[in-house]
């Protein structure tokens, strides 16, 4: 230790001119602040900024020069024998020199910064805690640079053909790291990426330190042997770390549906029992796994997890096809992705459509036909209809539709668009239909009402729609309009009564409007309104903070859910109601069926479909729930901190 310190002290003393330069660098910002070019009142900024630039430049310069000369220069000038002819061990030589180089990299920039911190501390404090990560990164970056410079210096100065091997290995590492990170980025595992990046950085530093020690211990004064010794220690350590990271990444990306327990998101098909499920698994960091999952058979198809961020997947109405976005970019913030079609009713392989979209959530720029054979997608101002089997474009029309809009196939050859705009202070829902055969776009109708935005729901056959406009001033003045879905002609307009408003509402397949009506005292009723406007049933549901219509089931049955007002937690109640007579058929406590349908541009609800299972949360599990029989099937255990995406979005 003493000998290492002696060597380190000698190294520092040899470069004392650096401290003189640092002293000049400390004064220079104050000189710059006095120059006439500096505007009055900005002296502190000039001092702080120029000192930061000088310090960072000095740190980088010292890291590069220190790293490249630490051992390499004396090796190539045949002067390293100076130490080896003295009673000092390799560790003392290496750590003495390394310590001195790090000391210089840290202390000299600190000398530059110190006066500016004292004089212009307010400028530094203005960044809050922001300057510390920057300083930390500069320090870590400088030390990494020091190590890299040492490596490169040793490799280059050896003048050995071995550098070809080093180059090949460096290329392998440079290729391996992005490959390693890519699945994590696609799974939005940002914290894991930072952790693994830090681990690799530490491994690099450890490899340089251990390699440098072995270089001195085994290579000694011979340039070529020194190179070999450094390489023999450095690459295995770095390679080992990469392999360990690769194994960890392999494990992180491999959970099954049953392992998913945190940030669960589920989105079930409108018919059938397939659903999309995403979430994080225990001990797998923040990596988001994604699956297409059959709640009936338990079969799972692994897909990327980043759908959760972009809301990228939909099912065809018949439930036999899923369309998923597969990210193309290496980085998760690169939303460029290809639409992949998964046939679900057989063993057919996924179909790569070649359709690339860059759109982000909240709503997908595409929709799939009910039979899963065609896609309509937006590409700039154009909407294209695409035949999946032949991978052929059937039509491409310029629409100039701005979001928000909805769209769905009315039949195989007709696509309907609903575009919401403000026109002369009014809210206009304009309806268009695209004839795929003639490639003709025609406006078929319009619905005008007051408000600044709205919510649209269409019956499965596309004949009727429920439009609820959002009006400034609150829900009490928001009308519920049932209209013809093609022409926009009003059928019924439900205005709110004094002291009562609709909290959740939905239109059933037969055009019946179901509204969860809420009084000021939180008394809730489920009101069934016939297409003509007459109230069919008024079913008291008790006191609740929220009420929503979850699902319409075969046999004219409706699932309605009541829940406490946010942010209060409490038991939810799901009621199965016979819409024909208003009778409550089943009341289930403590479960929460949930569909993350918010990204679907198809406004037709999924009810009346021939499905049995609903993705449903209990406090501890995700289950498939049959609302008719009450039977449940376990899918995954929720982790103690495992809030679902819905709960997170609702702020529960």
């Amino acid at each position: 230790m003493n000998k290492a310190l002696t060597i380190g002290y000698r190294e520092v003393a040899e470069k004392k001119f650096v401290f003189i330069a640092a002293g000049v660098g400390a004064v220079l910002p104050f000189v710059l602040a006095l120059l006439p070019l500096t505007r009055s009142g900005t002296e502190h900024s000039v001092v702080a900024l120029s000192a930061a630039i000088f310090a960072a430049s000095l740190a980088v310069g010292l890291a590069v020069s220190g790293g490249s000369s630490m051992i390499g220069r004396e090796l190539s000038e045949r002067r390293l024998s100076f130490y080896f002819t003295r009673p000092v061990g390799a560790a003392a030589i290496w750590f003495g020199k390394l310590g001195a180089a790090i000391f210089m990299v840290l202390i000299a920039p600190a000398i530059v910064l110190l006066p500016s911190l004292l004089f212009a501390g307010d400028e530094w404090r203005a960044y809050g805690d922001g300057q510390w990560p920057i300083l930390g990164l500069t320090v870590v970056g400088s030390i990494v640079l020091l190590g890299a410079a040492h490596l490169l210096s040793t490799f280059l100065r050896s003048r050995s053909a071995l550098i070809v091997i080093d180059f090949v290995l460096a290329v392998v590492v440079a290729v391996a790291i992005p490959l390693l990170m890519r699945p994590l980025m696609q799974g939005m595992a940002f914290k894991t990426i930072i952790a693994l990046g830090t681990l690799l950085l530490i491994a690099f530093v450890v490899a340089v330190i251990a390699g440098g020690w072995w270089q001195v211990a085994d290579g000694r004064t011979d340039r070529r042997r020194s190179h070999i010794a450094l390489s023999r220690a450095f690459w295995p350590i770095l390679g080992g770390a990469l392999l360990a990271c690769a194994a960890y990444v392999g494990w992180i990306v491999s959970p099954g549906p049953a392992d998913i327990g945190r940030r669960l998101a589920t989105f079930s098909a409108k018919e059938g029992n397939w659903m999309l499920m995403y979430g994080q698994a225990k001990h797998r960091g923040d990596y988001v796994s994604g699956f297409i999952y059959d709640m009936d058979s338990g079969k799972a198809i692994r897909i990327g997890g980043s759908d959760l961020l972009w809301g990228g997947s939909v099912f065809s109405r018949d439930g036999n096809t899923a369309v998923v976005r597969r990210p193309l970019g290496k980085a998760s913030w690169n939303t460029s992705s290809e639409l992949i079609v998964y046939p679900l009713n057989g063993d057919a392989k996924p179909i790569e459509t070649g359709i690339v979209t860059k759109e982000r959530a909240p709503r997908l720029p595409y929709s799939v036909s009910d039979d899963g054979r065609r896609l309509v997608y937006q590409e700039g101002p154009n909407f294209n209809v695409f035949d999946i089997a032949t991978k052929r474009s059937l039509a491409s029309v310029r629409m100039n539709i701005e979001a928000p809009y909805w769209l769905h196939f009315v039949g195989p050859d007709v696509v309907r668009f609903y575009n919401l705009n403000s026109v002369n202070g009014e809210l206009a829902l304009t309806i268009y239909e695209l004839d795929v055969k003639t490639r003709n776009v025609q406006q078929t109708g319009e619905l005008r009402t007051k408000g600044f935005s709205g919510f649209l729901e269409v019956t499965p056959d596309g004949s009727k729609m429920l439009f609820r406009s959002f009006v400034k001033g609150g829900r009490a003045s928001e009308p519920l309009i049932v209209a013809d879905a093609r022409t926009g002609a009003r059928i019924t307009t439900v205005l709110h009564e004094e002291g009562m408003w609709a909290n959740g509402s939905s239109i059933l397949a037969d055009g019946t409007l179901v509204a969860g009506m809420m009084r000021a005292d939180r008394q809730v009723t489920a009101r069934f309104i016939a297409p003509g406007g007459a109230v069919k049933h008024e079913i008291p549901l008790g006191i609740a903070g929220r009420v929503s219509v979850i699902d319409e089931l075969p046999g004219n049955r409706v699932l309605v859910q009541t829940a406490p007002e946010l942010p209060a937690k409490g038991a939810r109640t799901v009621l199965l109601i016979d819409a024909s007579n208003g009778n409550i058929l089943r009341r289930t406590e403590g479960i929460a069926p949930w569909n993350d349908q918010m990204f679907d541009r198809d406004p037709r609800h999924g009810r009346v479909g021939a499905h049995r299972w609903l993705p449903t949360y209990t406090n501890t599990t995700l289950v498939a729930w049959d609302p008719v029989s009450g039977e449940t099937r376990h899918i995954a255990d929720r982790l103690p901190d495992g809030k679902s995406r819905g709960e997170l979005l609702r702020g529960e």
């Binding site: 000698r10 024998s81 080896f84 002819t85 009673p87 000092v88 011979d222």
Partner: protein, 299 residues
């Protein structure tokens, strides 16, 4: 010689650089308290051997032991007992001589600063001089002063006279090395200055093409090598019992360097060959070196 008494013991030392063999199975030992001169032409393998000797280079085969310990494994500890003057000036050029001494003093268990000051004074080198500003010879002298300061038991000098003027060379050999030898310090040196070591080396080793072709006591070496001239008649040495290191025509006669000269054997050879007048002269170490390492060497 008992190997345990050896200050240096080299066994089957082999050093290779790729396909080239620089040192090829060299073995020899240097008894404690003796002065060993290792000679060889440029590229003979001396530097590689010395680097192995001071633990700076790992041999491809064989090994070096100093005071019975493997120098590769125990270099740091052994260097406390060994003074080294390297072939090339390796001290940091920007260091002052005084700082160099202060730095070195902290690394050794014992350090005789007075001896350093005295030697520097004798060499005429100011302690305030920058090492890089010194001449090649002065650098060697500073290195020697530093090497001797910890009172080493073994001194390894790699071409110590390189760059020294005649006076400095004389001082080095006659005063320093001879004095050290008198004090029982083992010295191994490589040099091209064969005249300088002739009087002080106890043993000589000669490397040729990486092989140790000669390893012998100086006295025995000098006694067995003779230059023999038959000025008036040619002589054929082919069947002789005398081994010749070199044979050439000399006027009307023959000159040969005999490497196993023995007075009785020579007289027998002369009588048998009916050779009359013969001049027999001892060889200098330089002549012996040339005879051993030069072209046409037979043994």
């Amino acid at each position: 010689m008992n190997p345990a008494d050896s200050a240096i013991r080299i066994a089957d030392l082999t050093v290779r650089y790729g396909r080239k063999t620089a040192v090829d199975g060299v073995s020899f030992a240097v008894p404690g308290g003796s002065v060993y001169a290792l000679l060889g032409r440029n590229g003979a393998g001396k530097s590689s051997l010395v680097r192995c000797l001071v633990g700076q280079q790992k041999p491809n085969a064989g090994g070096v032991a100093l005071f019975g310990e493997d120098v590769w494994k125990r270099r740091a500890a052994l260097m406390d007992r060994v003074g080294v003057v390297s072939e090339e000036a390796d001290a940091p050029p920007e260091m002052r001589v005084a700082a160099l001494a202060r730095f070195s003093a902290k690394l050794y268990r014992s350090w005789n600063q007075d001896a350093v000051d005295e030697r520097l004074k004798r060499f005429g080198i100011a302690a305030s001089s920058r090492y890089g500003d010194l001449s090649k010879g002065q650098k060697k002298q500073v290195a020697l002063a530093m090497a001797l300061a910890p009172s080493p038991e073994l001194l390894i000098l790699d071409d110590p006279t390189l760059g020294l003027d005649v006076v400095a060379r004389k001082v080095l050999f006659e005063e320093v090395i001879a004095e050290l030898a008198d004090r029982g310090i083992t010295v191994l040196l490589t040099t091209h200055d064969l005249g300088g070591i002739e009087g002080i080396a106890d043993r000589v080793g000669i490397l040729r093409d990486g092989r140790l072709v000669l390893d012998e006591e100086m006295e025995a070496l000098k006694s067995r090598f003779r230059r023999v001239r038959f000025p008036s008649q040619p002589a054929a040495f082919s069947d002789a019992t005398l081994k010749t290191a070199a044979v050439r025509a000399w006027g009307g006669g023959t000159e040969a360097v005999v490497s196993n000269y023995d007075e009785l054997a020579f007289e027998r050879f002369r009588s048998a060959s009916s050779l009359n007048a013969a001049e027999v002269a001892p060889l200098s170490l330089e002549d012996i070196f040339i005879a051993v390492t030069g072209e046409g060497v037979q043994s």
